[in-house]
């Protein structure tokens, strides 16, 4: 084996339990996405017309929030992975700084989405308006719950880094939480163009 070859792992990083959750979420959201695409095909004019009422800029800003938050979480994980026993405090501090930023961006997503929802409800739009809005509210509402849960998970990880709770040997918790957060991120990466842009 060449010196620069990276040793491949047999299992994905973090606790395997979180990956089971991720696989279940992939099936659920996958069915939603495909269901949306084929419903749109059957109701093309109505979907295209209804889509014009969405706030694309809000969806765009939310994508930036999640993508950037995901990046901050990777930086936090990298800080923990690079820590040494003599500099444990310093690297945990660094990680908690990145996690705080990630949470703020997650909260930014939630606040922006609440404004978007309240604007839509104010316009008289709801789940029962038509099939497009049924999908819109179901998909984005379900995803919103995931962002909320993800933010709570990040907060828990943040609390642990603040008390220097992670070590090189024991940091599966932060990696598992990070994996969940990245899943929330990439589901939105598909949802944004599918629901807000493609017509």
């Amino acid at each position: 084996m060449p010196d620069n070859a990276v040793k491949k792992e047999l299992y994905p990083p973090g606790d395997f339990g979180v990956w089971i959750i991720i696989y279940v979420e992939l099936i659920t959201f996958g069915l939603f996405f495909i269901g949306y695409a084929f419903s749109r095909r059957a109701n093309l004019e109505m979907f295209n017309h209804s889509q014009l009422m969405l706030e694309t800029t809000s969806g765009f800003i939310n994508t930036l929030f999640l993508v950037t938050s995901s990046y901050f979480v990777v930086k936090a994980v990298t800080s923990i992975q690079n820590l040494t026993h003599d500099r444990r405090e310093e690297f945990n501090k660094k990680a908690s700084k990145w996690l705080l930023l990630a949470m703020l961006f997650g909260a930014g997503f939630l606040v922006n989405k609440i404004f978007e929802f309240s604007h839509m409800f104010g316009e008289g739009l709801s789940l029962s308006t038509n099939k497009f809005f049924m999908f819109y509210f179901m998909l984005t509402g379900f995803h919103f719950m995931h962002v909320l849960l993800g933010t709570v998970i990040l907060f828990n990880i943040f609390q642990r880094t603040r008390i220097h709770g992670y070590t090189v040997e024991d940091h599966k918790g932060i990696i598992s939480g990070a994996a969940y957060w990245h899943m929330v991120d990439f589901l939105w990466i598909i949802l944004f163009p599918l629901v807000y842009i493609i017509r």
Binding site: E9, P12, I34, A178
Partner: protein
Amino acid sequence: MTKTLEIVWIILVGLTIFAYLLGHLHYINSFFVAILLVTTFIKVQLVLDYFMELKNVTGKYRWIPSIWLTIVISLIAVAYYLPA
């Protein structure tokens, strides 16, 4: 490694801006939808490989999310392009 993460983030942001501009300027047609689907595939694969570190995993656990992604994006394309 650190630089790689920054590059991945820049690509993700760049492709998001591209998608937004297409939608905002109403430049959406069949050709651009294909581009959007390809760029969405690339973005998710980048998150899987570099943020979730699946590029360092071998065997089925490396490929399960990628196969899911391929199926989802392909079926969205089928729903969009298949003649009525």
